[in-house]
Amino acid sequence: METNLVIEGLKFMILGMGTVLVFLVVLIALMNLQQKIIERFFPEPKGAPAPSTPTAPTGQQKDNKKTVAAISAAIMHHNKV
């Protein structure tokens, strides 16, 4: 018996769309679950959103202090001379 390709195509469609949608529905469920778990047990530390922001100014401040020290030393040296 010759296979009816159209019926085959319809089977492909049911299997294919079914798999894609089930895959994504499971994925959606997992994403929602993951969000709840992470918010519950691993909350983002509030108030320190990016650790790089506070460190950058401190480094700059240190540099500023060094510069101030260097300048004052230069002024003192100049005054002595």
């Binding site: 195509g9 469609m13 299997l15 798999t19 894609v20 949608l21 895959f23 994504l24 994925l27």
Partner: protein, 439 residues
């Protein structure tokens, strides 16, 4: 004047005699290197040279010339066909440069096509550099996988994680693939319009996923003989997203729906982004191992990016690596634009089925969004449904642009990125299903 001619002739004779003398002197030393080269008259040489020019090769093709596959070609494919194909590549250049359609892809593909249609040189043959590139990366599906890696490193799953249900839109848009598959098979079965096998029909319909690398991946696995036309169709429709999609989106939505404002997306934590690629890959391993080459490479790129500790690697993937592979992939796809493979009736059928698949995918995404709005919960603007076809990020930009046409303050871009990246996952899953059916 006479003196001049005389001197030229004498110089010429001197050279030939010197050459003959040199040859005679070196004869005892190099017996094995003796070639069966016979002295030719100048007229004969000129005649032979003329016969080897491109003009002659195009106008009166060599009867014994074989195609890149070593099969005989018709005179049309050797002569006018090549000229037509070269003009088509000029059209691709124009589209890329003047119209700005996906120049990153169309230029390498177009130039590859130009080189592939040169007679005699055999650039796309087994020993030509395009042929070598094709064997190195397309025939074995390497390049599409590497492209996926780079795309993964460029992708931000944040918008999808912030609004997970939009993933459904990316799933619905895959209807373009399977709807066209049924259509193509039905037309092959009941009409004489096409004559595709079910494998070929599957490879063609994946164009509806609007994902170039996936199309190439599937075509080289299921119907390598159609790869050139499928790749060209797939990439040209991706380039034409801004033209194809808006009329469909507008036809299927009401004015009120187009003005729906979506709630601002929440902030997604880094840990969520880090877990997500592993989660998708795990799911793919459990459900559909056939899809894991694509999804695995995609998630590898993304995982490296979100890990934040290997910026050097993720930076290479999303810039240098993907650029290099794009050049190779484009040229290798272009090598399939040779007249004997492209100027056949199948190509027109593939181009036609491709645009049907693409439009059906767009429509299915929009309709899915309308269905979702029938259920209680936050409303979805149906315009982002069209972004479910995976062409990232063009489809999302189109959703945004059409939304702005109706309400200047309605920024849909980030909302549309959710279905857009879900569409990439969706078409990779669809590809895996097709592969698993035929394996």
């Amino acid at each position: 004047m006479k003196l001049f001619l005389l001197s030229i002739i004498s110089v010429f004779m001197l050279m030939t005699s010197a050459h003959a003398g040199g040859h005679a002197a070196s004869e005892p030393l190099s017996v094995h290197q003796e070639e069966d080269y016979e002295a030719k008259g100048m007229g004969e040489m000129l005649g032979n040279f003329f016969a080897s020019t491109g003009i002659v090769a195009l106008m009166s093709p060599d009867e014994n010339e074989l195609s890149a596959h070593g099969e005989p070609m018709s005179d049309f494919h050797k002569g006018w066909g090549r000229i037509i194909m070269i003009l088509i590549t000029f059209l691709l250049f124009w589209l890329a440069i003047k119209k700005g359609f996906e120049p990153l892809l169309l230029l390498p593909i177009g130039f590859g096509g130009l080189l592939a249609n040169i007679p005699i040189a055999g650039i796309s043959g087994p020993d030509g550099f395009l042929g070598v590139l094709y064997e190195a990366g397309l025939a074995n599906q390497l390049f599409p996988i590497l492209i996926f890696m780079g795309v993964g490193a460029m992708t931000d799953f944040g918008p999808l994680l912030a609004n997970p249900k939009t993933a459904l839109l990316g799933g619905a848009a895959q209807f373009g693939i399977f709807g066209t598959l049924v259509g193509a098979v039905a037309l092959s079965e009941y009409t004489t319009l096409f004559d595709f096998t079910i494998k070929q029909a599957s490879a063609i319909s994946i164009i509806g996923g609007a994902d170039g690398p996936t199309s190439i991946f599937i075509a080289s696995a299921l119907a390598p003989e159609l790869l050139g036309a499928i790749a060209v169709a797939s990439y040209s429709y991706m380039a034409m997203v801004p033209i194809i999609q808006p009329p469909i989106m507008k036809a299927l939505t009401t004015d009120a729906e187009r003005k729906i404002k979506m709630v601002t997306l929440r902030q997604v934590s880094r840990l969520e982004k880090l877990v997500f690629p592993i989660m998708v890959l795990t799911l793919a391993i459990l459900v559909l191992p056939e899809a894991t080459p694509l999804i695995g490479a995609f998630m590898f790129g993304n995982f490296l990016k979100v890990s934040g500790v290997v910026d050097r690697l993720s930076d290479t993937m999303e810039n240098a690596l993907i650029n290099i592979i794009t050049i190779f992939l484009g040229l290798a796809v272009g090598s399939k634009l040779s007249a004997d493979q492209f100027l056949v009736a199948d190509t027109l059928a593939i181009l036609a089925l491709g645009i049907v698949a693409f439009s059906a995918g767009t429509a299915a995404g929009v309709i899915m969004a309308k269905i979702m709005n029938m259920f209680p919960g936050t409303k979805v603007n149906p315009l982002i449904g069209s972004a479910g076809v995976s062409a990232v990020p063009m489809a999302a930009r189109v959703s945004n642009k059409v939304g702005m046409e109706y309400d200047r303050s309605n920024i849909l871009l980030m909302h549309a990125m959710g279905p857009n990246v879900a569409g990439v996952i969706g078409s990779a899953v669809a590809a895996g299903v097709l592969l698993s059916i035929f394996s």
